[in-house]
């Protein structure tokens, strides 16, 4: 069956791959090809990558962005998993309202959001870089919310929650030892989305006058555009590698419908 699917021509799949190929993979490949050019010799090499990793600020900014993204992921999971669990279990009418609110970051321009934050937040909040993970959390909310929502919709949440509680698990342990492992796929997708969005966020960060990896890349691009592209390619690969490591650390457990 699987073999038949591989060889059979599927027009919708072909169209999707064509669009993805043209608008995603082709520009990325071109950027990569561009980043390994060595204009002086006319060939290819890793000069710009070597330059990037030997830059003093490279590791400073990549690590800074990564821990900010990590904090954002933690905030997202700590806030959204219990909230969505409660919304699903209670069948509360508030759920429709929260669904709507979760979409707001998609329609509010980031510039308006940044200016509003500068006006509204007290000084002690604006003085700490920790304001960024909370704001990144808001920006990632539409994607993270839907990813977890789909996961919770796909499991018999009420029954397994009640089974866990009657077996002696309090709410915290029910969430951490039962719900999160059962919706592992959705949780991993949420981590990936939130991490990637936080790592690459530029507009809000620069408007709030913070320096992170993306703002630094823009800065170095003024002097070395090929180096900046090399850095950008690495910033694509690094989160991918991190998420692969996370996936390996949390081994897949066999679950119904997800063999």
């Amino acid at each position: 069956m699987a073999k038949a699917l591989r060889v059979k021509f599927q027009p919708p799949l072909a169209l999707t791959l064509l669009i993805l190929g043209f608008f995603v993979f082709l520009p990325m490949l071109s950027a990569f090809e561009y980043s390994i050019r060595t204009p002086l010799t006319g060939g290819y090499g890793w000069t710009h990558y070597i330059w990037a990793v030997t830059e003093d600020d490279f590791f400073h900014y990549i690590l800074r962005s990564m821990w900010l993204a990590g904090v954002t992921v933690l905030i997202t999971l700590f806030v959204l998993v219990p909230t969505l669990t409660w919304l699903h279990l209670s069948n509360s009418k508030v759920r429709g309202l929260i669904d709507g609110i979760s979409l707001l970051p998609l329609v509010i321009p980031v510039v308006a959001f940044a200016v509003g934050a500068q006006i509204a937040f007290p000084e002690f909040v604006q003085n700490t870089v920790l304001e960024l993970p909370f704001l990144y959390f808001v920006l990632a909310l539409p994607y993270a919310y839907r990813s977890l929502d789909i996961g919770l919709n796909s499991i018999p949440l009420k029954t397994i929650t009640e089974a866990a509680r009657s077996a002696g698990a309090n709410w915290m342990r029910t969430i951490t030892t039962v719900i999160v492992p059962v919706i592992r796929g959705s949780v991993m997708a949420t981590i990936a989305l939130t991490f990637a969005l936080s790592l690459g966020e530029y507009t809000l960060t620069v408007l709030l006058h913070w320096d992170t990896f993306p703002t630094w890349v823009t800065y170095v691009a003024q002097d070395n555009i090929l180096g900046a592209i090399a850095i950008s390619m690495m910033s694509l690969i690094i989160p991918f590698l991190i998420l692969t490591v996370i996936t390996l650390f949390v081994p897949e457990r066999s679950t119904q419908g997800r063999k």
């Binding site: 499991i155 029954t159 009657s166 077996a167 066999s254 119904q256 063999k259």
Partner: protein
């Protein structure tokens, strides 16, 4: 096994305008298996969920061994529960599922796995301990759920229609297994079902519920043979409802005067409640008072449906070898074998 008695005192619970439990009272003795039986929406599952702590009653108290646990959260009640829907954790293996309750109680891994294997052995699934739950059949999943509910030695075992999603033969086997385990472990058990055969087969006592109240609670025998109300009489087993007249404490049924058992202030036109097995059919042309409509062969017994001269349809349960000559259209004489007949208002 640390089994304890259970008492529900004056429990009331409303969902919006629906009165799910109305001043509900129940006593379950140590090691007893009590079934709550009733039609959909009668409040039986709500009662069970109140005991489990998954619903909180509006008023009344829940006592375990005379200790008030009304405000104790579900996870601290030490009650094992088996649900109607398959409720195993799909990310855990069979043995991990069974050991889950012990893990929550911080029992060491060695001890909890040993206990899990003991329980799996009891339900005949020790060989499946390393498998994931989706690799099991429905009956096996409910066996694992039963093992999980018993593994941490609960004070009370709660069964919420655990057999209703299973095939007929699996249901019969598993209900017998539940009873065997319950008796051997001596666990106080509250069993909710809408299947009267299931309730009667394995329970020490059966409580019949209607509109959030307990209509009657008694042994299966007493419930069947001496129903306290016409609802219980009609709900438990099959009951013929024969219109007749009550006079001087007697009713006339097929030409015979029989003492009437009243539950209230019945008088005048009443309905006599007679079990099919209490009606005997004699094939005759003389003195015939009914004719056979259908004969349903059910193996050792047959269900004969007759219509009396006044149009009342009556069922009789007879042994098949004595009812072979009763064919649709045969004229017959019906007789009631009861010494007393329960009556209700017409």
């Amino acid at each position: 096994m640390s089994s304890k008695s259970l008492s529900l005192r004056n429990i009331s619970k409303r969902f919006g305008t629906v009165n799910a439990l109305d001043n509900f009272n129940l006593e379950v003795g140590v090691g007893e298996l009590v079934a709550l039986l009733g039609p959909s929406g009668c409040g039986k599952t709500t009662a069970l969920r109140v005991v489990a702590g998954l619903e909180h009653q509006d008023s009344g108290t829940v006592l375990v061994a005379d200790k008030n646990i009304s405000d104790v959260p579900a996870h601290k009640r030490n009650m094992g529960m088996v649900f109607q829907a398959y409720s195993l954790f799909p990310n855990l293996t069979v043995e991990e599922n069974v050991a889950f309750g012990l893990q929550m109680r911080k029992v060491t891994k060695t001890v909890r796995l040993k206990k899990a294997h003991e329980l799996l052995d009891l339900v005949g699934l020790d060989s499946q301990s390393k498998r994931f739950t989706h690799q099991l059949s429905g009956g096996q999943q409910q066996r694992v759920a039963l093992a999980r509910a018993l593994a941490f030695e609960p004070e009370i075992l709660l069964l919420d229609e655990p057999l209703s999603a299973l095939d007929a033969q699996v249901r019969v086997n598993l209900r017998e297994e539940i009873r065997r385990l319950q008796l051997s472990l001596g666990t106080t058990t509250l069993f909710v079902t809408h299947d009267q055969e299931e309730a009667m087969a394995i329970s020490d006592r059966v409580g019949v519920m209607s509109h959030g109240k307990l209509e009657q609670i008694d042994t299966p025998d007493a419930l069947y043979n001496k129903p306290a109300t016409s609802f219980v009489a009609s709900f438990v087993g099959t009951m013929n409802r024969i219109p007749t007249q009550l006079s001087d404490g007697h009713v006339q049924l097929f030409g015979k005067m029989i003492p009437a058992l009243k539950n209230g202030n019945e008088s005048g036109n009443v309905i006599a409640l007679v079990r099919p097995e209490s009606i005997v059919i004699k094939s005759t042309d003389e003195d015939a008072n009914a004719k056979v409509l259908t004969r349903l062969f059910m193996g050792a017994s047959s269900n004969i449906v007759c219509q009396t001269k006044d149009g009342t349809v009556v069922q009789s349960l007879m042994s098949s070898d004595k009812s072979g000559d009763l064919h649709p259209g045969s004229t017959v004489k019906l007789e009631v074998t009861n010494k007393e007949v329960l009556v209700s208002n017409a």
